[in-house]
Subunit: 311 residues, 2 copies
């Protein structure tokens, strides 16, 4: 299988940690329910390919996201792996945290909003009251010794509000981090960002006192911009990148929802740049081809399509 | 129609000139013949959207590329516009140049190879003898007052040879430019490049004495890398970018051929970065949606898909 020609780029990190979101963020948007054993096998194959951090599921109410009603069952099937600090689960609120703790989870993610409208529509909260909602969740999680990531969504544009001021993103992110979170993931939920915005937001976060090594970027590829925005973040010193095997996923709230940055497309760039990831690209391509078969449709990843059809 | 939020990126040019290749490079790879009047209308719509430079066709032998047998007819239909210095045509050899001159063409492009195998397969020449083949073509074109671009293909990887040394690319490019060409386009024909290679090749070209303002980049999106490579070239000071309306095109020699960088995806990034192009993005999206209808399949451009389906 072809591999990228290695030429080291200037001003880039030596190592990048990929935070794989395909199992949770990807599959939660599937119209058809994916059997829990397929999800478990997906996680095992990603582990085999060398992915270190995998967000496995979400303890959201099954009323809202029936695709994730199997959260506890999935963790049980994964055994020890499902309780590793490298297998975070999303928890929307205290009830979700309690369910996660019952299953022995050791790391979680919460999901905040950079905009008022998305806070109302997705969190059933307000921009301001989300901090009160998340404070006891983070407090309890930290008291239980958990690792906590906070996502901030709609950081570069909002389907209802349009433009989003970088200063607003920085303020929301800072207040969420100040609750005691360990890691921040800045999300371009609808895929509209361009590199100048990425620079401005990252600069703002660093100026606000958030360490670069706690900042992750999370780009969607709706407008084809995910990889160049990621490259921009790497040049700024970011070393944690969210991506999704095969480009699975999307935002159910955006009409033309398309997936997250594909892990394989990201790996092609990183490995071509001589950046270490610890991940085996051919094994990832095979995993995504297998997942494509399970879902009955072609992969959204360009690399998977290119290498999967070549012999 | 949604437009990108503008945030100026650092170290980037103020203006970029897009060299539109969709009409020639794009349509020459269509399985079905596209009617000449559709091609003419495509050019007119691109002009209306503000595209300054459009490569219209190729005077290649109809035996080899029947899709372009209508080259002369197309130029006649375009009238004065088809003879503008901003409407280059590809000529593979002296015979092609003569046919172009008969139609009153005022700018041409030649198509060289950075690798031995592609020179043999595509040019029916060798890496070395291509210079002898192109020398009289460029000489005659310059004597007739024409503007001449030279493409160099397979600059970042070759389907048969694998890796390509940047030093080899620079040498081929320098020798072709020394024949008297006005502009150079560095092509990633199979879409495998990553940013370190792009930096190394551009640095090498500049060190070899080729002015930055004569260098264009031409990326294919087969592995999803086109836009981040383009961004890398812009950061190096390149201001001419080849792209294709709707991402039309591909390389007939690569199994998993996919298109050129889509003009609309490039425009989204450039306009988000506050870089001037003189092009109207919504008009481009409409043009590509119209062309999609003519071809009977969805656009390969993420921006066209995102904006074309949103109301």
């Amino acid at each position: 299988m072809r591999t990228p020609q290695v030429d080291r780029g200037t001003g880039l990190p030596e190592r990048v940690r990929i935070y794989e979101v395909g199992v949770r963020d990807g599959l939660q948007n599937e119209k058809n329910l994916v059997p829990v054993e397929v999800k478990a096998e997906f996680v095992r194959r990603l582990e085999q390919a060398g992915i270190e951090v995998i967000e496995t599921t979400s303890f959201v109410s099954p009323k809202w996201v029936p695709q994730l009603a199997d959260a506890g069952d999935l963790l049980d099937r994964l055994g020890e792996s499902g309780r590793s600090p490298h297998r975070p689960v999303l928890v929307p609120n205290m009830k979700g945290l309690e369910r996660a703790l019952e299953r022995g989870v050791t790391s979680i993610a919460i999901f905040g909003s950079a905009t008022e409208t998305f806070a109302q529509k997705n969190l059933n909260s307000t921009l301001e009251s989300q901090f009160d909602m998340f404070a006891p969740v983070v407090e309890k999680a930290k008291a239980e010794g958990l690792w906590v990531r906070c996502y901030v969504s709609m950081c570069f544009g909002d389907p209802w509000e349009g433009d989003v001021a970088p200063s607003q993103v920085v303020e929301v992110a800072k207040r969420l981090m100040d609750l005691g979170c360990d890691e921040l993931s800045i999300g371009d939920t609808i895929g509209v960002a361009t590199p100048g915005q990425v620079e401005e937001v990252i600069d703002g976060l660093v100026e606000a006192g958030i360490d670069l090594d706690r900042i992750a970027v999370h780009f969607h590829d709706t407008y084809g911009q995910a990889l160049s925005n990621t490259l921009t973040a790497l040049r700024k010193g970011v070393t944690i990148v969210d991506s999704s095997a095969g480009g699975l996923g999307g935002c159910p709230y955006a009409k033309s929802a398309t997936g997250n940055l594909a892990t394989e497309d990201l790996l092609w760039m990183l490995h071509g740049l001589g950046i270490e990831t610890g991940i085996d690209l051919p094994a990832m391509v095979e995993t995504s081809m297998w997942m494509s078969e399970q879902l009955g449709r072609p992969s959204a990843s360009s690399v998977v399509r290119a290498l999967g059809t070549a012999s």
